[in-house]
Amino acid sequence: MGLWQSYRMRLRRKRYKVRAYRKHFSLRPVADRTGAIKPGDVLLFCTLRDEMVRLPYFLQYYRDLGVSHFLCVDNDSGDGGREYLAGQKDVSLWTTRASYKAARFGVDWLNWLQNKYAHGHWTLVVDPDELFVYPFCDTRPIRALTDWLDVSQVRSFGAMLLDMYPKGRVDQVPYRSGQNPIEIASWFDPGNYTIEKNPIYGNLWIQGGPRARVFFQDAPRLAPALNKIPLVKWDRRYTYVSSTHMLLPRGLNKVYEQLGGEQASGVLLHAKFIDTFTDKAVEELERKQHYSSGAEYKAYAEHLSQSPELWCKWSEKYINWRQLEILGLMSKGNWA
């Protein structure tokens, strides 16, 4: 990378920071408990809209991992999710009616909150339908991981998005609030992912999985990106560029080894495809607030009305992180 390009990246980073600052005016605090954040706490950031049914399990899952504080942006929920979150002791909540799309799908809001509250903390940025799985997550709290990353002088930790789906129709089994969604959506595609390197930001671009297999067979290039870097030791100079797919400065995107070895990595179990999905797809299609005007949702809505089954004979049923490790979807690296 030449000096010129480095400088351009620097400008771009500054621009995103200014943008985050501009967008933060639309955020209105509902419950600000950030005073309770202690040094060394692991913080979770998320934006959400109408996800009430998922919230109880979501909060419980991450509390059990050892997340100390949740900082959430509610994008005009109308299902009581806002009130529910405001009542939780370890949640700080902001709300906004501004456009999700204009805030670059929530990235601007979170960038600003992270810069304000997360400097020097390990931060996890996930959606309410994403469950973070890392090596030894069944026996070691997330603090063990972040401590180890600190000692190893690693600042960011990658976790690929793994689309989970049920056997049978997506809307066959209704999801009860508080239930582990993986009980319903317990299947995934184990080995059909393609990887390319992004020459500008240096991150990997991963596609594949059931969405590419079923929805984007004819246009694989449009299939959604699955690479994510959700866990970062935040510094106020950092900024997410596009969702949690990539960051600036670019060094944070190098969560992979190029000389043949394996770095440690995790997986985000993406429990998107449960019965709530069909309604959501229709709604998002109208709102056009998602990436490339919800083209993704358009494809879903079309396909799901015809053949609503993502499951195939070679789908794998989720057991635990060790299974994902053996399949080569994540790695322990040198953590033992």
């Binding site: 195939c312 790695s331 690296g333």
Partner: protein
């Protein structure tokens, strides 16, 4: 005991040692805030026989650690005259066996020094290439904080050829910094008349805490056991592996006396080993073999990874893949054109998974006509052609443990050819020109056939160049079609022997060859149209000369 963080855990361990009657001298890093330090000292005020030594700044890899150790050792020897063995531990060390067992163990070996100590020439422990040089150069800059200056200064000294003299002809030794020395040896080191010289020398050595005592103990010890009683494993960056709750059983079975480093929040480990004397193990020699293996594997995973795997945290650049794919596979070109039932025959004879043309333009022809295969890999041509290389690597990875065979030819997507040619796992067998057989059998217009033949010949001859290039690493065998049908069983036998899946004692069953009556004339017609088919080799126009009649040829065995 050297302490710099997690004081609550350090306190627990101090009490544990002390309860067994061991006097302690504690050194806390100077960078610890005074307030925290005072709280720690106060918390331990009720514990008998402990002292706090003068605090030094202990940055990793610097002299401070040695200075702190020296001073604390001196204090120990001066203030507790009954002490026979001195054990250097840290705040994150955890005694795994009852302290009494350690005391008994040492009492049985009153003159033995337990200190890991090896010459640099003989061990590959060092990280970053500084082995002998760490004793012959100066290191005034911090490796952690001033990496740039550190590296530049090393390069400068190499360039100029600056070399320090090692004093008094001592032979530098290295080893784990956690030792257990006898009073005799330790006091000899500390009271050496030459200590001034040694201290001055070692204070500029790189990572002196791993070499100072290790070297000097060799001068005085009566009996050295070159191993550390502390179980401590280092990874490829030279930082210690950390133990967590899930290592409990592993640690129990290790029979080691002390382990480090323990994660401060590993409650189960601390509870199990500090409060539970019944966890006592049989009195055996320490045996950390299993732990060694686990950590060695972890380092290998980090440095070499799993061959043939491409994933989110392993994406090797070209030449560093350590195998493009994870297992051997076979590519057959022209065989399914020449033989009518080749795929079925091959699957039966070798017991492998035989696919059709995986890179066919319409779809990936998986075995048994499946539309999705292991790993939920789709047969969609678009998905495959979006990243053919990932498609192949995925297929081989998903079916690891089962050998894959597939057909390939000039009609297929050629984008994969270099990846196959460069892959040492690939076994490529080619019958050149066999693509003409389906054309010969087809019912198309001759002008179309001629055009098609010209195109396929062009593609295949380029493909052959790839396979024969100097970068090709696959096991490639090429026959012209004419050559092959002269004696088809010999090459087939060779290929199948190499696949070596089963013991095939000669090929009992032979694939059925296509009827080639009139093929020579067909080629001649192409020639007459100005399209010279040369990849098939020489076929006589009159078909009854050399051309074997497949129906008459009887199966025979080849040994």
């Amino acid at each position: 005991m050297l302490v710099h963080t997690a004081f609550d855990r350090a306190e627990q361990v101090v009490r544990h040692w002390s309860a067994a009657g061991c006097p302690l001298v504690i050194h806390a890093d100077k960078s610890v805030p005074q307030k925290e330090y005072n709280a720690f000292v106060n918390a331990l005020s009720d514990v008998p026989d402990i002292r706090f030594s003068k605090r030094h700044r202990c940055e990793w890899g610097t002299w401070g650690l040695v200075a702190a150790t020296q001073q604390a050792s001196q204090m120990m020897l001066d203030e507790f005259p009954d002490v026979r063995h001195v054990y250097l531990a840290s705040g994150s060390c955890l005694p795994l066996r009852p302290v009494q067992e350690l005391l008994d163990y040492l009492a049985e070996r009153p003159h033995t020094d337990f200190i890991e100590s090896a010459t640099t020439a003989d061990v590959p422990w060092t990280i970053g290439g500084l082995d002998q040089e760490r004793f012959t150069m100066r290191f005034p800059f911090s490796w952690r904080k001033n990496k740039y200056l550190f590296d530049r200064y090393v390069a400068f000294q190499r360039f100029v050829g600056l070399k320090r003299k090692i004093p008094n002809g001592i032979v530098p030794h290295m080893g784990s910094q956690w030792w257990c020395l006898t009073r005799q040896t330790l006091s000899a080191i500390l009271q050496d008349p030459e200590r001034e010289t040694y201290d001055r020398y070692f204070s500029k050595v790189w990572i002196p805490d791993e070499s100072y005592f290790q070297t000097l103990a060799r001068q005085y010890s009566r009996q050295i056991e070159s191993r550390s009683l502390t179980l401590s494993k280092f990874d490829y960056q030279g930082k210690p592996h950390i133990f967590y709750d899930d290592h409990l059983q592993l640690l129990r079975r290790s029979d080691c006396f002390v382990a480090r480093k323990i994660w401060p929040f590993a409650n189960r480990l601390y509870d199990a080993f500090l409060t539970d004397p019944s966890g006592a193990m049989k009195r055996t020699e320490p045996n950390p073999g299993k732990i060694d293996r686990i950590f060695a594997k972890a380092v290998e995973r980090r440095t070499r990874g799993r061959a043939g795997l491409y994933m989110q945290s392993r994406f090797p650049v070209e030449t560093r893949e350590n195998g493009l794919t994870c297992g051997q596979y076979s590519v057959f070109e022209g065989f399914s054109d020449l033989f009518e039932n080749f795929e079925g025959w091959l699957a039966k004879v070798t017991g492998t998974r035989v696919h059709g043309h995986l890179f066919a333009p319409e779809r990936a022809e998986f075995s048994d006509g499946q539309s999705v295969i292991n790993g939920a890999l789709s047969d969609s041509a678009q998905l495959r052609d979006y990243n053919p290389r990932a498609f192949l690597a995925n297929l081989i990875w998903n079916t690891r443990g089962e050998r894959q065979c597939f057909q390939f030819g000039p009609r297929d997507n050629q984008a994969i050819e270099w990846d196959i040619a460069k892959d040492p796992n690939a076994q490529v067998s080619v019958i050149t020109g066999a693509w003409a057989v389906p054309l010969f059998q087809s019912n198309g217009n001759f002008s179309d056939i001629r055009r098609e033949a010209a195109l396929l010949q062009q593609i295949e001859s380029k493909h052959l160049e790839t396979l024969r290039s100097t970068w090709s690493k696959a096991r490639v065998r090429i026959w012209t079609m004419a050559e092959f049908i002269e004696a088809p069983m010999e090459p087939l036998q060779t290929i199948i022997d190499e696949i070596g899946q089963q013991q095939v004692r000669g090929l009992a069953e032979v694939p059925k060859m296509a009827d080639l009556k009139g093929f020579g004339q067909f080629l001649q017609n192409l020639k007459n149209q100005g399209m010279h088919p040369y990849l098939m080799g020489d076929f006589p126009v009159a078909h009854d000369l050399h051309e074997p009649a497949p129906s008459k040829r009887k199966p025979y065995l080849v040994r």
